[in-house]
């Protein structure tokens, strides 16, 4: 009789132990999943904030206005006097490619600016206008093509 009672108590104790162990396990799994799906939860306590800033800084300082072989890499504009004034005023609305693929004299660059001011919401450039126009006329002047150019830049290949 006593043995039977003891046995029952023992089974109950094991049962409770297992139950609490499983309970704990379930809570752990739940917590883990919760963190996995809500990575923001421990953001402030996390170590990432500092490193994130560092990562950004590298991009900003080293690459943003890098110049290679006389070309401002980010825009493709020629590195010359007035470059950053052009970058800051002429690449907000449209790509710099619209500048670099065109060739005009002073009068026509100025009239292009006027057209943008009249119809495209370009602001008054003030004293920057002279800087910009000088940059454009010096670096992107018209080229003589005549009535028809010869075929250029041909990539020769063997036709099979």
């Amino acid at each position: 009789m006593e043995d039977h009672k003891k046995f029952r108590l023992l089974v109950k104790a094991i049962y409770r132990l297992l139950l609490s162990l499983f309970g704990l396990f379930a809570v752990m799994v739940f917590t883990l999943l919760f963190i996995m799906y809500n990575p923001d939860l421990f953001k402030k306590a996390d170590l990432n904030v500092g490193e994130e800033k560092q990562y950004v800084a590298v991009t900003d300082e080293e690459d943003f206005d890098k110049i290679e072989n006389g070309i401002h890499l980010r825009t493709g504009l020629v590195d010359a006097e007035g470059l950053m004034t052009v970058v800051n005023n002429c690449t907000n609305c449209h790509s710099a490619k619209l500048v670099t693929q065109n060739r005009m004299n002073k009068e026509r660059w100025v009239s292009t600016i006027r057209w943008m001011q009249e119809t495209q919401n370009l602001w008054d450039l003030g004293p920057n206008e002279e800087v910009i126009v000088n940059y454009l006329v010096t670096n992107y002047p018209p080229s003589k093509k005549g009535r028809r150019e010869i075929l250029k830049d041909i990539e020769w290949y063997v036709l099979k």
Partner: protein, 406 residues
Amino acid sequence: MKRRNFVKKAVLGTMTSVIGAEIVFGTTLPNGYIPLGLQDPDPFKMFDKDRGMEVLNDKPWNIEAKAHLLDDKITPNSSMFIRNNGLIPENIDASTWTLTIDGESVKQKKTYSLSELKSKFPQYTYQLTLECGGNGRSEFDPPAKGNQWTVGAVSCANWTGVRLRDILADVGVKEDAVYIGYHATDVHLSRDPNKEPISRGAPMQKALQDETLIAFQMNGKDIPLAHGYPLRLVAGGWPASVSGKWINRISVRNVVHDGTKMTGDAYRVPCNPVAPGEKVKDEDMCIIESMPLKSLITYPKTGATISTGKTLDIRGHAWAGELEVSKMEYSIDFGSTWRECTLDKPANRLAWQHFRASVDFPKKGYYEVWAKATDTRGNSQPMLLPGWNPKGYLNNACHRIAIKVI
């Protein structure tokens, strides 16, 4: 875990610095999803274009094909040029898309849903040539302002839709109607919501042609986003700017439509010929209607070397705006002598026509194969640049490829 979070945050940090603003809800971005503002770097992937295409401008997007990429009889999306005046609209919902017909010359204003358009009117499919008015601009001297297109701003795909004339008949048009003008959802470069990047149109006579479609399919599928999804106007044979993309409104006007890029020197040429570089007053500029006669050698690609005695098979397409091409010729001696090509009839009116020829070269050396089309009125393509105009439109000088016989 920590590592993954760190990588995600670091990447987000970089994205934030590139975009110049915090990405709200950044950490809940689905994995593998790239924010729209960052999709710019690979236009070929974004627009599903051949990597041989040339990006002329990335804001707004302007991309052209090369002659050899246009070899297909029906232009696939992969080699279709992209011409934009503004920014491509975002968050398009075709299920709520509507087309409104209004203007001074409608009897009543009427709005159709996309499904109404598809069910109410008979559908038609035409193969239609769309060429940018400025195709070939890069050759003008003095140079003309704008995207410097070479030869690849032309396409001829199958377009499916309903006839604009059927819609206009359903709406009811007054007798004083002279022009239609489209309005669309693309965004002005300055992001000013009160400005339209482009709003052009066509005279009633063109609007009422059988082939002028309000299209919802290109080559049997939904129109790709960059080409006007979910609805665009297609007016073959005219400057492609008439074929407005992402349209949600068409105004029937009792005056020549005066929307953006209809006035000044946009899509206009001097009414009377001028000397290169000459100043032309606005009132002396006339709106371009039909595109001129033109052709393109699409095979072989320029730069081919072949061995002596070998016959070279060439082929390509020719088109003539509102007209048809009646004769196609080629020359290997800079236009001294011409030989005729085999020329197919168009699949339908306003579709380009295919030509082919077998070319023999007399001896070793450098050659240029020149192509020249003649239309049903007897006009031929010029060998040199045609009349100079301030914006560099309508260059239909003959196409040339270089060949070396060794």
